[in-house]
Amino acid sequence: MTDGITKVTSHTSPNEQLIFERSQQGRIGYRLPALDVEASPLDDLLPQEFQRDDDLEGMPEVSEVDVIRHFVRISTWNYSIDIGMYPLGSCTMKYNSRLNERVARIAEFANVHPLTAEHDAQGALQVIYELEQHLAEITGLPGVSLQPAAGAHGEMTGIMIIRAFLDARDGAAASGRRTMLIPDSAHGTNPASAHLSGFSVKTIRSTSEGLTDLDHLRELCSHGDVAGLMLTNPNTLGLFERNIKQICDIVHEARGLVYMDGANMNALVGIARPGDMGVDVIHLNLHKTFSTPHGGGGPGSGPCCCTSELEPFLPVPRIVKTDWTVGEPTFKLEYDRPKSIGRVKAFFGNYGMMLRALAYILTHGNDGLREATEAAVLNARYIANGLTSDYDKPFNSPPMHEVVFTDKRQSRKGVHTLDIAKRLIDYGFHPMTIYFPLIVQGAMLIEPTESVGRQELDQFIAAMRSIANEALEDPELVRNAPHSTRIGRLDEAAAARKPVLRWKP
């Protein structure tokens, strides 16, 4: 069964220190041109009491080659998409095209200052405008702001828009409408974002099928205090909420609004649109669905898309196309939107990510966007199919782009989800998302994305089945994994008890 699987992960340079420990007095890795203006005495320019007096002690003194070796060495301790499959459920680790990187580095975009006069930054504004248009078409929601810097930021923006809309619609009566409904399977950012917007959270149960419990939803909507619902669709179990229209109707009848967490939008692009389902506002993750790189934890970009009714509440400034008659279209910034929730970030958002996402949309084309969705779902189905004989699958419905399994069978032998994840490292794969969603005990959430072929899927399935076998025959082997990495499992509890958060001499 393990034919073709090689247990490889080994780190070639195990002994690199912290840069501070490599520092040697007097070493330098840079050169600036000599100062070409007459220098004034420092004290004449800056009162002495405002001058730094610690001589930046402790900051590194190293050469350029020291820095290169330092980072190249520690980089080999990282797993990455370019090494192989990175099946983190709900994180959507798809290939990051080098072409998109090149686009983001075009000098006229990389060097344009955000406070450049509009007429000298028309190309920069055009990119924002065009990407907004495409995202509006993809989501079926015409109002788009690219200002939020990440998914959670887009969520906060969406929920603040709901709040502003309700306050404008209901006036003082809106103060009684401060409950946000969130399914128990939701990502933790949902309740945190709702809280930031001044809402209290009530949790909706999931059914045994893994879908939103409509009866519980109706009950929660019957008290007149519901501002809205935050729903992920497909949900975090990888299942499409097939009652979505009814769900939206129930919330709308209760005079609330529906926010959709677009973290899983990569299962829908080109297939179905949230705007057609009754959703009022959604955020997207350009770093998931539109393949901008995750960068070891960011930057992201979390556009917020909404109905035309909510559009006046989007953050300022807005980018608008002006009337033009000859030549190329022109764009300008509009600030005068009295209903806007305000600004959520300085300047215009994570612009470099917008360039990459627009390049992704343009190189895929409308057909390619749909094909990517189909491949992502097909791959997840293939894994679901390949693992059911060895792992417990808590929900029967066929999954969309990700599938959840549990450690139910393996835990009888004392092998748990964490162990399976760590053992997968020895087989050369990054682990799946573990212990999320919280409602599934010992959850293993697997999302292959469209960026893997059948051969690699087969290898992954073979690795998982091999681990299931090891859990039966040699559970200790799995419990002590990984065996091939530079360091073993780290004592996280001790690290949190007495945190050491910085180097000190």
């Binding site: 890795g29 900051m59 809280h195 953050p315 470099g352 084309g365 360091i487």
Partner: protein, 437 residues
């Protein structure tokens, strides 16, 4: 593959979506472009960014500094830019060790004791600092000077509008360009934090030690924002001045302008508040063989554990940009940061001296400055700078009327180590020439 899972067509993959919700037409987005076509298209759009090709004196929260070549090389390595958040420490030590070094560098520069793994940018870091000050003090009033970057204040206002925090802004001192005496007087027993920026939006350095004393006297925290982080190479650190929370925009450290993002927010505070910090933290940890490694730690503050009771909703931060800043700071090193900061100060002083000597031009503020300063010209600043762009091909500054409508002739000029003396001289001559039309 379809066959292997018992399906006949790709359509069947979506059987769980009700028929009436399926999009039964192709998306109305463009057809696929080849690499050549795509690059041509972006090059053409880029050609409409005239501002990007000119010598520039624009600052105001985003700065042009020299970026050593190796920064982009390192952040372009697959192992860094195509990795996810380091949730599996055994195969993420490259990212985790980088963040630990980043946190250390931020502490060293700001003079603080702990720093997090990054925020989205300086403006959102400031908003988070204000929310944290409310948590720490359990007080609800926040006082800020209007000499803080106007967009930062807008972001703070958005974040606090539903948090039960009352943001009070106090006008800056029109003589010095620094925060006014009224700022300290506005602090009372309900004040959670005093918020200032230094160097402030006008480039003036604030007297942080005095402001810290005033805040602490009433039991409030001093929150210091910095947009030009290069100033830390020369100015007394906010930590040494008594600040309680320091946030900064880290873009000056090796990050391209890129029309405003992605940048990286720095967030640092005192050790006693470590458990109130928003966002991710990396700490030292050991495996059973005693080998040192690094892990994400104190996660019980974060949204994936604490949900609505988390210290922030932030999840994805600016990992790769924090890496860029780390590579930059380590390459420039202790001496490089000092030298770059020194050159900024000297060149800005040179430019300010020459511009002030032009007929019709003056410097309205007397406060000490780092590398930015406000100039008052003889005519509408937007018009003056537009002429300068068209005729001389120089981006001469940022008109202040966008932020302060009562200052039509004022504009903000920024000079850094990349502006040569020739460029500065051309700016000065250009201003003189186009103001005499």
């Amino acid at each position: 593959m379809l066959e292997a899972i018992g399906l006949k067509s790709a359509e069947e993959l979506f059987d769980s979506i009700p028929q009436d919700l399926l999009l039964k037409r192709p998306l109305n987005t463009p057809a696929a472009l080849s690499e050549i076509e795509l690059l041509n298209r972006f090059e053409r759009m880029g050609g409409r960014n005239a501002g990007a090709r000119r010598p520039s004196f624009l600052g105001g929260g985003a700065y042009s500094h020299y970026i050593p070549t190796i920064v982009d090389h390192i952040i372009s390595r697959s192992e860094f830019f195509t990795a996810y958040t380091p949730y599996q420490p055994e195969i993420s030590q490259g990212t985790l060790q980088t963040i630990f070094e980043f946190q250390t560098l931020v502490c060293q520069l700001t003079g603080m004791e702990v720093a997090n793994a990054s925020m989205y940018d300086g403006s959102t870091a400031l908003a988070e600092a204000v929310l944290m000050a409310e948590r720490v003090t359990r007080r609800s009033k926040v006082i800020a000077s209007t000499s803080v970057h106007p967009q930062y204040l807008e972001v703070v206002q958005t974040y606090v509008q539903h948090a039960g925090i009352d943001l009070e802004v106090v006008p800056f001192d029109a003589q010095t360009g620094q925060s006014s005496a009224a700022l300290a007087n506005a602090i009372d027993d309900h004040t959670a934090a005093l918020v200032v920026q230094s160097p402030n939006f006008f480039g003036c350095v604030e007297d942080l030690s005095a402001l810290a004393d005033a805040a602490h006297e009433k039991g409030a925290l001093l929150v210091v924002a910095i947009t030009e982080a290069m100033s830390l190479g020369l100015l007394k650190s906010p930590g040494a001045c008594g600040a309680d929370i320091v946030v900064a925009e880290g873009q000056s450290f090796g990050v391209p302008l890129s029309f405003g993002g992605p940048y990286v927010g720095l967030f640092a505070t005192r050790e006693k508040y470590a458990r109130q910090i928003p966002g991710r933290l990396v700490g030292e940890a050991y495996d059973k063989n005693g080998r040192r490694g690094f892990v994400l730690t104190l996660a019980t503050r974060e949204q994936h554990i604490r949900r609505e009771k988390a210290t922030s909703n932030i999840c994805t931060n600016e990992g790769l940009i924090a890496l860029a800043a780390t590579v930059y700071l380590e390459t420039m090193g202790r001496r490089g940061i000092q030298e770059a900061a020194h050159q900024c100060l000297q060149k800005a002083a040179y430019a300010a001296r020459l511009i002030a000597s032009l007929e019709g031009f003056s410097l309205p503020f007397s406060g000490p400055r780092f590398n930015e300063f406000v100039v008052r010209g003889p005519l509408d600043a937007a018009e003056l700078l537009s002429r300068l762009g068209k005729v001389k091909g120089i981006e001469g500054g940022i008109p202040l009327w966008r932020f302060f409508s009562d200052r039509p002739n004022d504009f903000l000029v920024c000079v850094t180590e990349i502006n040569s003396r020739d460029e500065i001289d051309a700016l000065v001559e250009g201003l003189s020439e186009v103001s005499n039309w």
